[in-house]
């Protein structure tokens, strides 16, 4: 392949061979992060293919704006790319790490956006593609129902604290003000609620892996 002077430094186009490559589907998420730490782009692409949809759904739920949600996901994946070597698989799963980065970024962004304060708990966005027949869509539906049913079993004040914090991006002191209760009350509601939710989800989870293996 001959490169003309003008293309020597050009980045590959969207349809170059890299975009088509899929060679890591058999690896665990954690192995992919290890590869990313060595500068392996297809490994990052594969991680995105596995976690990107959930990551975007999460960022969108918090930010309620596609553009901002994409920014949050993009920044989080760049952080993954840059800091993969500091990831410690013994502390957490790779998907947990990535989603934690996405959430942190989304919350940082939403706290700068005053307009979202209006109605943070408007109806949850409808699960698009709810009729999708893919295994991934089915699994997402299943997880969503499982978590929602666990949330429903929490006392209202605990569920409210958790949902406003995690999906609404409200800090504890903002919640105390919004709900007109002492900060200490918010802290203990959040702790008791999350501990109870953990228990409920542990009980209902037979499968510990975060996602089934999809065939490519």
């Amino acid at each position: 392949m001959e490169a003309s002077a003008s293309t020597v430094l050009a980045l590959p186009g969207p349809h170059d061979r890299f975009a088509m490559r899929k060679q890591h589907t058999h690896l665990s998420d954690e192995a992919l992060v290890a590869l990313v730490a060595r500068g392996d782009e297809p490994a990052l692409a594969e991680l995105y293919d596995r976690v990107g949809r959930v990551a975007f759904g999460l960022a969108f739920r918090v930010l309620r704006d596609e553009r901002h949600a994409e920014d949050a996901v993009q920044e989080a994946f760049l952080a993954v790319w840059r800091t993969a070597a500091s990831f410690r698989a013994e502390r957490a799963k790779a998907s947990t790490w990535i989603l934690t980065l996405v959430h942190r970024r989304a919350v940082d962004l939403v706290r700068r956006e005053e307009r979202r304060r209006a109605e943070p708990l408007a109806d949850e966005p409808a699960l698009e593609g709810a009729t999708e027949a893919t295994e991934e869509a089915a699994w997402l539906r299943f997880e969503r129902e499982r978590v929602q049913s666990a949330l429903k079993q929490l006392p209202d004040v605990q569920r409210e604290a958790i949902e406003l914090a995690y999906y609404g991006g409200f800090s504890q002191s903002e919640l105390a003000e919004r709900l007109g209760v002492p900060l200490g009350t918010i802290k203990s509601r959040m702790f008791a609620g999350l501990a109870r939710l953990r228990e409920l989800l542990d009980d209902s989870a037979e499968e510990r892996s975060w996602k089934p293996e999809f065939t490519n």
Binding site: V8, V54, G57, A79, T83, A85, L101, M190, L194
Partner: protein, 239 residues
């Protein structure tokens, strides 16, 4: 008080701590095995909340944007082989060291997520600028009269110093870069600080370099000084 800070683990896992408490908690987290375990387990719960949030699908452009951005990073800059441009290759090979070093420098993610993200952004901006100079076809390479490495300057005068065999600066000291018009050290302009690392050092200079200027590096008190107080240990040929 102790019970109080342990209780913050839930707020931290939900990203609901206020900035000051977040910092306090992270400091506590680094020394509290109980909270580390608790956090790891709460993070599984918040991951379930994340999965349950899933709504619309991202656009297909998002994937492409992420991968493009990653390709633009220094180690991933694509330079198809072309013999005429071989001169540029050693510089690019040295650039490959950047990302790895930054990733290592960021530290353990669990105790410092926010700064991980912030440092990533700052490093990204800087390194994009650095990469731009290094891969600029119009950039030229200026050799050093003292020290090992080279200075790369593009036509806009943006410059990157590539150094080999630099030891980390001693405690309390920093390396400071200078742009020295016409080689007159008394009129040196500050061009940035770096602390030195084992292996190759690649530093983007603040300011622009003009014809006849010399780029020099001195060792100064940490924080830097306004004018060189020591003799340069590194100096380029005049640009």
């Amino acid at each position: 008080m102790e019970a109080g800070i342990h209780q913050l683990t839930a707020g931290y896992a939900l990203d609901a701590l206020d900035p000051e408490e977040r910092r306090e908690y992270e400091a506590h987290l680094s020394t509290c095995a109980h909270c580390q375990d608790e956090l790891a387990s709460f993070w599984k719960t918040t991951e379930a909340l994340a999965v349950a949030a899933s709504g619309p699908e991202p656009s297909s452009e998002l994937r492409e944007r992420i991968l493009e951005e990653v390709r633009a990073e220094p180690p991933q800059v694509v330079v198809p082989f072309e013999p005429r441009r071989r001169r540029a290759v050693p510089v690019l090979a040295a650039a490959a060291a950047i990302a790895a070093v930054v990733a290592l420098g960021v530290g353990v993610w669990a105790s410092d997520l926010s700064s991980q993200l912030d440092e990533t952004r700052v490093a990204l901006d800087r390194e994009r600028a650095t990469a731009r100079v290094l891969v600029d076809p119009g950039a030229r390479s200026v050799s050093l009269q003292a020290g090992e490495g080279r200075l790369v300057v593009n036509q806009q005068g943006e410059a990157v110093l590539v150094l080999h065999g630099i030891d980390p600066a001693p405690t309390g000291k920093t390396y400071e870069m200078w742009i020295v018009p016409d080689g007159d050290i008394t009129s040196a302009n500050r061009a940035g600080l770096f602390s030195g690392r084992v292996g190759s050092e690649i530093e983007r200079l603040d300011g622009t370099v003009g014809v006849g200027d010399v780029v020099a590096v001195t060792i100064e008190t940490a924080g830097g000084v306004d004018a060189p107080t020591t003799a340069p240990i590194i100096a380029s040929d005049p640009v």
